[in-house]
Symmetry: C2
């Protein structure tokens, strides 16, 4: 099972691919898409889309995992974030890869065992779970890896707990 986690933003979009090999997790690749701040909005959306296309074509993930967003500093930043999300979602949808959304609490819970864990603890656990100390501390790519891990561990627990938990844990979009 290969999952692409995406953490979209108009300034920086993190992505990370995690493989499940038996009960082990393996980091396949991760990175940040950072279109130039001077690019017009359409140029930034094109850059996000083009980079995600490259990742989708090179690594062919089975699923995409994203964080659900219901809060933002203000309407303007919510619209800016929504635009980056829309461009990412449309790009993934064009490849027919299913997308799953998880709340921040569920992501923290599945990575650290604690739904209110600090960002730093989530990122430490990402490095531990993937046995990869090379993964940067604070970065959108590390967040994206956490989002990918969440889908894998939810899928594992769902296989045990059965379909009933499906709606509370994950939301296909």
């Amino acid at each position: 099972m290969r999952v692409l986690g995406i953490d979209p933003g108009s300034i920086s979009t993190g992505f990370g691919i995690v493989d499940r090999q038996g009960s082990a997790l393996k980091s396949v690749c991760h990175g940040n898409i950072s279109p130039g701040r001077n690019l017009p909005l359409t140029g930034r959306l094109l850059a996000i889309s083009a980079s995600l296309k490259e990742v989708l074509e090179a690594y062919r993930p089975d699923a995409v995992s994203m964080e659900s967003v219901f809060f933002a500093k203000n309407a303007k930043s919510a619209i800016v974030l929504g635009q980056a999300r829309g461009a990412a979602l449309l790009t993934v949808a064009n490849y027919g890869v299913p997308v799953f959304e998880y709340s921040p609490t569920v992501i923290k819970l599945s990575v650290t065992g604690f739904g209110l864990a600090a960002k730093e603890d989530v990122q430490k656990m990402v490095r531990l779970l993937l046995k990869d100390n090379g993964i940067a501390g604070k970065s959108d790519a590390t967040d994206a890896l956490a989002i990918a891990i969440c889908h894998i561990s939810s899928s594992k627990s769902l296989a045990v707990k059965g379909e009933a938990s499906r709606l509370t844990l994950r939301r296909p979009v």
Copy 2:
């Protein structure tokens, strides 16, 4: 000069194409893209993109005009709107058509001569300017035609006023 106005939304995305022929305006086509409410988010974004692609390929507009958005009821609705905008912008950008954004006040001003005009008055003026009583009263398509007219009239006035007004009136995105 042929302009495609787009008024994006996840439930209904209005579009309308207006031609400038000398000093006259002509409505070329308009409509609403309404993906089924039961479709998942990715399905709705794909539907918006597919319909806009059809319009772009059939009518080859010289420019796309959109309303700038800085306010929303809440963060959730701003993100939902942003996602539809992002999908629309990415689709247009893939065709290399330049996109221009206008504030609601500038759109009302350019269509009715009054920046605080009521929505109904804007829509009446759209029918008058396009000499087409068949255009529906309240619809996203009519709003999209108003947004297209705004780009045309701004371009006309800019040609007279010169480049200095450019930044205050329109914003390429």
